[in-house]
């Protein structure tokens, strides 16, 4: 184990401290580490596996099922709803604006299925905040603000 792995292991163990070492804690545990690291690298998965005493393959199998855990390395995901209702209200231009603003920034623009905000379409979801009746300008500003808040 190299020093970087060791550091991650220690950090993850601290993050998950107090959680019962129980299989049913896997999803909450994954959320804790994703909120901290964004990306579930093999090192992070291994650390979770050791902390909760669940085989690596099992942790990987569960984590890889969920879209919200599938984040690009070092990038904050910005979700643009491009599902039917938001597409009718101009989601396409939000996506373009977000992709344009994301160039050269630590941001990954992702298409999302229905975010459940159809009464305020088009919607985007950035950080843990939903943007309702989003405009290209607002999305551009939000993408540029990532990492500065």
């Amino acid at each position: 184990m190299d020093t970087q792995d060791l550091a991650i292991n220690t950090e993850v163990a601290a993050l998950l401290q107090g959680m019962p070492r129980d299989r049913s804690q896997l999803l909450p545990a994954l959320w804790r580490v994703v909120d901290r690291y964004q990306e579930l690298t093999p090192g992070v998965i291994d650390a979770v596996s050791q902390s909760l005493n669940i085989p690596y393959a099992e942790v990987y199998g569960v984590a890889s099922f969920y879209t919200l855990f599938d984040n690009a390395p070092g990038k904050v995901p910005v979700h643009i709803c491009t599902d039917v209702m938001c597409a009718l209200q101009g989601a396409g231009s939000l996506q373009e604006a977000a992709e344009d603003a994301a160039l050269g920034r630590p941001v990954a623009v992702r298409e999302s299925a229905c975010l459940g905000q159809c009464d305020h379409a088009p919607a985007a979801w950035i950080g843990s905040q939903v943007m309702r009746r989003a405009t290209p300008e607002a999305v551009r500003a939000a993408v540029k603000a990532v990492g500065h808040e």
Partner: protein
């Protein structure tokens, strides 16, 4: 006035949605006190008498489900609130939890009390982070007042992480247990073997909110709105080409046309102002033509006559500029993405339908599509595969909606 506010709180209410004041104002503290003084059987009889049916899509009689869980053998039992709400065009549980999170929670506690569960889960989709905070506040309030908490009924929030299939009840159990959220083969049914193999009662948010208002009043009050067949009110979520998109509470039996057009409800068709079709019930719903919309009421029998169902309460409105092939292609892609892949008819079927849609074959390869659809309905393990072709089939059955052929 067509809009009712019973499940949704009075707009004039100034109390915080998760506050003890709100609990009292809504009569929910009395509902809890009343239920706690009743036997399991009496509670279940009251739910049965109200006629409440599940609001998560399948409309299963709620009293019957409670009775099954109550009778099921098992020391440990669980109750679950399903707030995964990831169905296309569906956002009524979100609005309900934003405006009145205590209602659904009170329903959940009454459910737990009735079936003898000491542990309750609220499973909420990962994209509803702000709603989750509201829910957590409401749980705090109920804990401080001594209704919830360790030693009473322990209520735990579980956050999903972006998997539509996790809303299916058995997949949701696997998700809570820390496994891949893949549906289980039924039977056994959750009422006998749910979470960790124990009898489990799982209900939609809106179903539980109905229970809370029922116990805050009584079955007679409950039936003041609605039809003979279906008492009470329903939340509908209007979206798309509609003047006033949003969630509205309406009595069962209301004409669909009124829901779309009444000034205090939908306010009329937006966009071009000319209706092409309504997609009712979500991605696996039914398309209704303008004529059918004009003839139907919001009730299970009236809609059943058109092969439609209320489903999740989604009412998606499309004006006559919308290419329904485009809509179907999006739906097809959604199901292909979200199929968990466990069973072949669903995995292959959703993929094939998407391919056919992408190649523009939806209006021409109708025989192939019908065959695929039938195989999926017959041989898929869960509701996703069984219902994924429904919206498409509903259009094949309505050639009039295929404007461009």
């Amino acid at each position: 006035m067509n809009e009712v506010r019973r499940l949704l709180p009075d707009l004039r209410s100034a109390s915080g949605p998760a506050s003890p004041e709100r609990l009292a104002e809504r009569g929910f503290d009395q509902a809890l006190t009343k239920a706690w003084a009743m036997s399991s059987q009496a509670i279940i009889d009251e739910v049965t008498a109200s006629g409440i049916k599940g609001r998560g899509g399948a409309a299963f009689p709620t009293g019957l489900k409670w009775s099954s869980v109550n009778k099921a053998e098992g020391q440990t039992k669980y109750v679950v609130m399903n707030a995964d709400e990831s169905e296309l065009g569906t956002f009524k549980d979100r609005v309900l939890l934003e405006e009145d999170p205590l209602g659904a929670l009170v329903g959940l506690l009454i459910a737990a009390h009735a079936v003898g569960a000491r542990k309750a889960f609220c499973y909420i989709r990962g994209e509803y982070r702000e709603v989750e905070q509201m829910l957590a506040k409401a749980i705090d309030t109920l804990t401080q007042l001594g209704w919830a908490g360790p030693g009473r009924i322990d209520v735990e929030i579980r956050r999903g992480a972006g998997a539509y299939i996790a809303g299916e009840e058995t997949a949701l159990f696997n998700s809570i247990e820390g496994k891949r959220p893949e549906p289980r083969v039924k039977p056994p049914f959750p009422t006998n073997k749910g979470l960790w193999g124990s009898p489990t009662l799982i209900q939609n948010v809106e179903t539980l909110a109905n229970v809370a208002i029922l116990f805050a009043h009584d079955a007679q009050w409950f039936a003041e709105y609605g039809t003979k067949a279906t008492a009470g009110t329903k939340l509908v979520a209007l979206s798309g080409h509609i003047q006033r998109p949003g969630v509205y509470e309406v009595p069962f039996g209301m004409a669909l046309a009124d829901i779309l057009n009444a000034p205090d409800l939908g306010g009329g068709v937006a966009g071009s102002g000319r209706l092409r079709a309504v997609l009712l019930g979500g991605a696996a719903g039914t398309f209704l033509s303008p004529d059918e919309v004009a003839q139907s009421q919001l009730d299970y029998a009236s809609l059943g006559a058109f092969g439609a169902s209320i489903g999740s309460g989604a009412v998606m409105v499309f004006d006559d500029t919308v290419d329904l092939q485009w809509v179907l292609t999006k739906l097809a892609r959604f199901f292909a993405d979200e199929s968990c892949g466990q069973c072949v008819p669903c995995r292959i079927g959703t993929q094939r339908i998407w391919e056919i849609a992408e190649k523009g074959g939806l209006w021409t390869r109708t025989e192939d599509l019908r065959e695929l659809g039938q195989a999926m309905r017959d041989a898929s393990i869960c509701g996703l595969g069984q219902t994924a072709p429904l919206a498409l089939l509903s259009i094949l059955d309505r050639p009039g909606l295929r404007q461009d052929v």
